[in-house]
């Protein structure tokens, strides 16, 4: 048997690195860093400056007048406060119950952090709890209050929560169905994907026609149901539900296709072992499939959540944000005032949205990490 001997030499003295070698990594990375800075950081800083400015058109160009936090003041405390926050009112008993429950859960989370002597985490959670409690109060004082009316902030959150939850559940159901060896499943995989391939503006017009009780293609159905005099667009909740149905219809395929890939990629051995052991289909799903697709699910929800905060096409085409402000989202509101050249106000709304999305996404990831025990 041949003997293998190592011939690797260990340096006994410190290797000399020439200056060119020392700067080479930085030199190679620098162009990429500059590109990233240029296309993401620079616009971010510029838009922050815009949100602190007022734009005027003057002979020969534009004039940006620095106005400090005035654009934010108008939105948060001025006459546009009602558009953003809606009309707050005394919550109902159910509303108070929701608020109390959320407050208790947040209190418990902070208490646990303090008990673990994780003081830095506790401070973070305390800040998060305060913001979350404020948002919850905003929701209950507008949605769960008899005289309340939600503003663009709450309407946006409503679309995100209801839309993403429904998209995930329906997408998961369809994925589980298409993962079964059923006849025609290849055909349905393609069919289920179609809505995602239609432009959102097209989906808007499609749902506008479908929801028209007077002259749309579903008119005979509405007449048969005695709803020819009903106008979904006159009713705040009718209009919101129409927007949500359109959004769910369009984005469920995204959830479906990714979840289907995750389900089909799971290891088959544990499933076969469970079947041999006599586990029910629900048990297999609960204890094997769901944990297997959990990492994909969390990422999927995060991506859709960030995307859903920016919803604009559907409410814009369906209702222009109406009736009143019932279906207006933050992005649509920013777009509307941008069209009237209130660029500063529009940038301020964009920054409020950025803060909200970053806050909720960070919270979601942190909550998930602590739940899964990862770092």
């Amino acid at each position: 048997m041949a003997t293998i001997t190592s011939t690797v030499s260990v340096p006994t003295t410190r290797m000399r690195i020439s200056p060119s070698e020392r700067f080479a990594p930085a030199a190679f990375i620098l162009p990429a860093v500059l590109v990233v800075l240029f296309i993401s950081i620079f616009p971010l800083i510029l838009s922050l400056f815009l949100s602190l400015s007022r734009l005027r058109f003057q002979a020969g160009g534009l004039e940006l007048q620095f106005v400090g936090l005035d654009n934010y003041r108008k939105l948060l405390l001025g006459n546009e406060q009602k558009v953003l926050f809606g009309t707050l009112s005394e919550p109902s008993l159910f509303g108070w119950a929701i608020l109390a429950f959320v407050a208790a859960m947040l209190g418990l989370t902070v208490y646990r952090a303090v008990r673990r002597r994780a003081f830095r985490a506790a401070i973070g959670w305390l800040f998060a709890a305060a913001v979350l409690l404020g948002l919850t109060y905003l929701v209950v004082a507008t949605l769960f209050a008899p005289a309340g009316r939600p503003g663009t902030l709450v309407v946006t959150m409503l679309y995100v929560v209801v839309g993403v939850a429904c998209q995930y559940l329906i997408g998961l159901g369809l994925a589980l169905l298409c993962a079964q060896p059923l006849p025609g499943r290849r055909f349905f995989r393609v069919v289920f994907l179609l809505p995602m391939m239609i432009t959102p503006v097209g989906v808007g017009y499609l749902f506008r026609m479908l929801a028209d009780t007077n002259k749309g293609p579903l008119e005979p159905l509405w007449i048969a149901l005695g709803m020819q005099d009903f106008a979904w667009s006159n009713n705040a909740w009718g209009a919101r539900i129409a927007v949500m149905i359109g959004d769910i219809w369009q984005w469920t395929p995204f959830m479906f296709i990714v979840l289907l890939a995750a389900i089909e990629a799971q290891e088959i051995e544990p499933v076969e072992a469970a079947i041999v052991d006599g586990a029910s289909s629900f048990d297999i799903f609960r204890h094997i499939t769901l944990p297997a697709i959990l990492p994909v699910s969390t990422t999927l929800i995060l991506i859709r959540m960030i995307e859903a905060f920016k919803i604009i096409d559907l409410p814009n085409i369906l209702t222009n944000g109406g009736p009143g402000t019932a279906t207006e989202t933050l992005t649509l509101y920013a777009y509307r005032i941008w069209r009237a050249l209130d660029i500063g106000g529009s940038a301020a709304i964009a920054y409020i949205l950025l803060f909200l999305v970053t806050f909720i996404a960070t919270l979601y990831v942190r909550a998930l990490r602590s739940r899964l025990g990862t770092t």
Binding site: G60, G61, N79, N214, N320, G322, P323, G324, W338, A340
Partner: protein, 506 residues
């Protein structure tokens, strides 16, 4: 490779080669004489024009553009964008120095925002030097409002805009109703039709009133049409939006409150989804025979005679209804009309026709090259000249409404277009009555009027119609929103612009 594919590719290649190798003599004989003709005046020049996606306005621009190209050799390239984006799209293009457009066809309401920074070419001398325009034939109001700013001409009018009330003559006859003279008459007419529960021949309901009340569309013009007669009574120079001394809004008083009451009450007699309808929808309902009353620009008159319309020869038009009570600006109360208070009243009724929007007009980018400016002006002039415009205003799909004196006087084109003589007289009579009214309300034309009307007024009205707030809260929101914008832009500057606008009316 599949032999069939090879054969197909070979055939395709042969075709391409044949096309490339075709000798000049292979050109159609009809093109040969053209080569011998002298070069056309604007040969080789491309004029880029922008307007809204229509199809109205864009259609005649493209059609007339082709004709103009054949006549002069210039290439007219019409770019269209959605109406809601047009204002800022043009402004951004000018302000950033991109200058993609040589001709803009836009709302003259926005003119101040384009002229003050110096983006538009002064057309005064060109207009004076162009006899083909027949400038004196253009209605005085359109020359002064749509075309002129601070005594200089900046635009060529292509369209005349007033809001009027249209009513169904057959229904009025059937129910024994008179065309509405006051807004109370309008409500009574609409209510009577609504209670009668009429249907069309194909069983569709006929609504008492159809008004475009959709948010971020035309609703703010409609409510202004209702409010005008209550707010302005002393003539055009009095203004209907702001006080001429303090620049305080005139939209928080008993007059505007009454207008809001009327506006909301009309919803009871309209289609169930009226608050989500824009003018495209209400016009569709009108030509389908489903409306007894509507408020609209001149377009209804020509759309009603188009093929397939069920309102042909059943469409009557009147000047916007008036009021027997008007605003006392000192007290903010509604008071009865007196000869002093309402000097222009007819039978005690104060009418204040609203020149909403002002009519599509064309302007030229100051930064365009001189030869392109020449071609651009010739193109706008060509569209405006009576030979073209007198035909275009009779076609519904153009979106152009009459604006020349000759278009009011000569009924032939209208009858040729399919209107009965009586209908033509009714239609043109209503426009002429509005045009000749000394109490016409000029649309707001001050810096950033788009924000005042399109954001603040429109937003507050949408909330009011949706039941989100009452009349008092709506008026307060409009007043506060307008005041805030005025403070931002400078009260004196805004007041000066507002006065200048009203001062141009002769």
């Amino acid at each position: 490779m599949n032999p069939k594919k090879i054969a197909s590719l070979t055939a395709l290649g042969a075709l391409v080669l044949a096309a490339c190798a075709a000798p000049p003599t292979a050109q159609p004989a009809a093109q040969q004489p053209a080569q011998q003709q002298p070069a056309k005046k604007f040969a080789g020049i491309t004029v880029n024009a922008i307007t809204f996606s229509g199809p109205q306005i864009a259609e005649p621009m493209q059609r007339r553009g082709k004709e103009f190209s054949e006549l002069t050799g210039a290439t007219i390239n019409v770019v269209t964008v959605p109406f809601a984006d047009l204002y800022q799209k043009i402004l951004n293009d000018f302000a950033t120095g991109t200058n993609s457009y040589d001709v803009i066809v836009f709302a003259p309401q926005w003119m101040v925002d384009y002229i003050e920074p110096g983006y538009l070419e002064d057309l005064t001398d060109r207009v004076k030097a162009d006899p083909d325009l027949q400038w004196e034939d253009v209605g005085l109001f359109f020359r002064d409002f749509s075309a002129t700013y601070n005594g200089r001409i900046y635009t060529i009018p292509l369209d005349g805009d007033f809001q009027m009330v249209y009513y169904r003559t057959d229904i009025a006859k059937e129910l024994g109703l008179q065309p509405p003279k006051t807004w109370e008459d309008y409500l009574a007419f609409a209510k009577a039709v609504s209670e009668k529960k009429l249907t069309t021949d194909d069983g569709k309901p006929v609504y008492g009133s159809c008004i475009a009340k959709k948010k971020a569309a035309q609703s703010y013009w409609m409510v202004t049409s209702v409010a005008s007669a209550f707010i302005q009574s002393q003539g055009t120079g009095q203004g209907a939006f702001f006080d001429l001394e303090t620049f305080k809004p005139l939209y928080n008083n008993e007059a505007f409150a009454r207008a809001l009451e009327i506006y909301k009450e009309t919803t009871q007699y309209g289609p169930p989804d009226e608050i989500n309808l824009d003018v495209g929808d209400t016009r569709g309902l009108w030509t389908a025979g489903q409306c007894a009353l509507t408020i609209d620009w001149g377009d209804i008159g020509t759309l009603a005679i188009e093929e397939g319309s069920k309102a042909k020869d059943k469409t009557g038009a009147v000047i916007l209804p008036g009021s027997k009570q008007v605003l006392d600006r000192k007290t903010g109360k509604l008071v009865d009309c007196t000869p002093e208070l309402c000097p222009h009243a007819i039978d005690g009724v104060n009418h204040a026709p609203f020149a909403a929007f002002g009519g599509w007009s064309g302007a030229i980018n100051k930064a365009s090259r001189p030869e392109v400016k020449d071609a651009a002006f010739a193109y706008l002039s060509y569209m405006n000249q009576p030979a073209q415009s007198n035909v275009d205003v009779t076609i519904g799909k153009t979106g152009f409404n009459p604006y020349r004196v000759s278009q009011f006087k000569n009924l032939d084109n209208w009858i040729k277009a399919g209107m009965s003589e009586q209908a033509a007289k009714d239609y043109l009579g209503a426009i002429e009555a509005s045009l000749n009214s000394p109490n016409m309300v000029l649309d707001l034309r001050i810096p950033q009027n788009q924000y005042y009307q399109g954001i603040v007024l429109d937003g507050a009205i949408a909330k009011f119609l949706a039941g989100e707030q009452d009349i008092a809260a709506t008026m307060k929101e409009i007043e506060e929103g307008w005041e805030q914008k005025t403070e931002e832009l400078g009260r004196e500057k805004q007041l000066a612009a507002y006065r200048a606008t009203l001062g141009v009316q002769k």
